[in-house]
Symmetry: C2
Subunit: 324 residues, 2 copies
C-alpha cells in the first residue's frame, strides 16, 4: 500500500511476489504507465526485499496491449510485472507476465455516492450504468449498492464487471437499453470520451479524487468535427503513409499491407511505415506524406488529430476516404 497525499494505491506486492515465485522467476522487469512510474522505485525495493532482482522499464506503456516483451527478452528477465492494467486477451510472445491492475483505495465512497445521487436526481436520471477504469472497477459493486439505497437504480455489465478500456467500451454499450445514462468512475476525459463517442445516452464523469461530477457528452461534438475535417482533407491527399504500431497487442502487419494495397488500387501512393510509438515528433520528418493512416491503437488518431498538422486517420475511417 502506498499513500500519496489523500490517494492510497494497493500494488498488491505480496500477491505479485507469490505469482512470481510460482513462475520460479528471479530477474523481473517492472512495467507501468507513466502515471504510476513515480512509485516504481518503491515497488522495486519491496520486490527486492522479497528476494527478486528488479529492473524497471523506462519506456512508455499505454495499456495491456503494450507489453514490454522485447525489452524483457533483451534484459533476460524471467518475468514481466505489468502494473496498472487488467490483461486483455493479448497473446504474448513472453508467457511470464504477471498483471497487477493497482487498486486505488477510496475512503469516500459514501460521500461520492451521495453527491452523485443528488446530481443524478437533479437531472431526472433514475437508472444508471456504472463503469470504471482499472483503478476503480473493484468499487463498482459497493457503489451500486449505496446508490440503490439512495434511490438510484445502478447496473453493472456482468461480463466485464464494468471495466472500460480506451479501445473497448462494451461494458457501457451492453447496458445502453436499460439505463438513462452511463456513469464513469475515474479521472480524466480519456475513458468517458471513448464511451460518449459510441453511446446514445449521456455519459457522466464522476472523479472520486476531486469529487467532480460532469457530463462529458458535449466533448463528442468537437471530436466529431475534427474527425470529419481530417477525413475531408485526407480525401484530397495523393500520398499516404500507413503506420503500424509495433507494440505487442497492436501490431497488425497484414492489415497495414491491406490498407497500402487498397490505397494503391485507387491509383494513389501509399507507403508502409513502422514505429513502436506513434507520435507527431516521430512522423514530422516524413514531409512527403500528405495523410497518415494508423493501424494500431484506435485512440492514436482520435486523441491526437489536432497535434499532427496533417490529416491522421484511423484504419476504420479509411473507407470514408476511398469511397469519397
Amino acid at each position: 500500500m502506498i499513500n500519496e497525499g489523500s490517494v492510497r494505491y494497493d500494488f498488491n506486492i505480496d500477491c505479485v511476489a507469490n505469482q512470481l515465485r510460482k513462475l520460479n522467476a528471479h530477474r523481473i522487469l517492472l512495467q507501468m504507465p507513466d502515471g504510476l512510474k513515480p512509485y516504481a522505485l518503491s515497488i522495486a525495493s519491496e520486490l527486492e526485499k522479497r528476494g527478486f532482482e528488479v529492473l524497471i522499464s523506462g519506456s512508455s506503456c499505454y495499456g495491456a496491449c503494450d507489453i514490454a516483451d522485447v525489452e524483457a527478452q533483451k534484459v533476460k528477465a524471467d518475468a514481466i510485472v505489468h502494473f496498472g492494467h487488467y490483461p486483455h486477451g493479448i497473446i504474448n510472445t513472453l508467457t511470464n507476465v504477471v498483471f497487477e491492475p493497482v487498486k486505488i483505495i477510496l475512503d469516500n465512497l459514501d460521500q461520492l455516492a451521495e453527491t452523485l445521487a443528488s446530481y443524478l436526481k437533479g437531472k431526472g436520471f433514475k437508472t444508471v450504468g456504472l463503469v470504471a477504469n482499472a483503478q476503480h472497477v473493484h468499487d463498482l459493486p459497493k457503489l451500486s449498492q449505496i446508490l440503490q439505497r439512495l434511490g438510484i437504480g445502478a447496473l453493472i455489465d456482468a461480463e466485464t464487471r464494468g471495466l472500460i478500456l480506451g479501445c473497448d467500451v462494451s461494458a457501457a454499450l451492453s447496458l445502453m437499453e436499460h439505463v438513462d445514462c452511463i456513469v464513469f468512475i475515474g479521472c480524466g476525459y480519456f475513458h468517458p470520451l471513448g464511451i460518449a463517442l459510441k453511446a446514445d445516452k449521456p455519459v457522466i464523469l464522476a472523479d472520486p479524487l476531486s469529487m467532480r461530477i460532469e457530463e462529458v457528452t458535449h466533448l463528442v461534438k468537437r471530436v466529431e468535427h475534427v474527425k470529419w475535417s481530417a477525413i475531408y482533407k485526407a480525401r484530397k491527399a495523393k500520398v499516404f503513409g500507413v503506420i503500424t504500431s509495433l507494440k505487442a497487442g497492436q501490431f497488425n502487419l497484414d492489415l497495414a499491407l491491406k490498407a497500402v494495397n487498397l490505397i494503391r488500387k485507387r491509383g494513389l501512393c501509399a507507403y508502409l511505415i513502422t514505429a513502436d510509438e506513434i507520435t507527431w515528433e516521430r512522423l514530422a520528418s516524413f514531409t512527403e506524406v500528405e495523410a497518415f493512416i494508423v493501424v494500431g491503437c484506435p485512440r492514436i488518431a482520435l486523441d491526437n488529430r489536432e497535434l499532427f498538422g496533417k490529416p491522421i486517420i484511423d484504419y476504420s475511417e479509411l473507407s470514408a476516404i476511398l469511397n469519397a
Copy 2:
C-alpha cells in the same frame, strides 16, 4: 540522386539494390535518421521499381549503433538498409544490414577551400587536420589537395579517412601533434563539439552548405560548466537511476549492473532503468530518482543536461561522484 534546393544527395540506390540482390532479400526495412526521412518515400519508390518490397522505419535513428534489428525481425524483413551512417563495429543480431552513408555532392568545393584558406591564413594557421561527418568525408582528399595548392598544409587520418562520429573523434585526435587546428566539414555543432571537448587545438566548423566558417572552441567552456554543475549536484543525491539504452550498439547490461552495485556499495540507493530512447519526457515520471547515470551513448548526458532538470551523468563521470 535527389536534389533538394542546392543540396544533392547520392543515395546510391543501384549499389544498394545490388547488395540486396546478393543477400537474396525481398522485403526490406529502410532505416534513416530524421534528417533523411524527408526522402524516405522517394527512396522506397526507387527500390520498389527495382523489385523489392519496402517498409520504412518511423522510429528514431541516431547512428550506426542504432540498428532497427528488433523492428526488422518483427516485420519479417529479409534485410535492413541503413542510410546515413558508416558501419561502426556493431555486432548485429541481424546479419543482413546494408549500410549506405548517403553522400552530399558539393559543386562548391573550390569556393569552400578558398574561403577556408583565407580564414585560416587570417588566423595564422599553416597546417590543419581535416575531418568530416559521413555525408562529406568522401570530399576530404580533394579538399586537402585544393588547400595545399592554396598554401595550407592539410592532413587526414589514414585509418578513419577523417570520419568523425558523435562518440568517436579519433580521426581528429590522431593528428593533434602535427596540426595547428582541426577543421570539421559538415553542418551543426554536434560533431565539432565532440572534437573540441577532447582536442587541445582550436576546432573550426566549415559548413559547405551555408559556407559559414566558425571556431567552436568557445562552446566547450559552457558544456564543461554544465557538466561540473551536474556532477556537483549528483554528489548530493541519495537515490540514483542507472539507465541503459536498449539500442543494438549501446546496450550494456553488465556495465549498468556494475554501476548499480558501485553506488549501492557506498550505501546509496540505485535502481536499474531500461529504455530504448532516453529522453527527458521518458524519465520525468521517475520522480523518486535524484540523479540519473546513463549507460549507452556518451552524448545523451552531454547534449541534454540542461533539458533534464535533474543531474544526468555519463557512466564515465560516475567515479567523479562516488570518489567525492
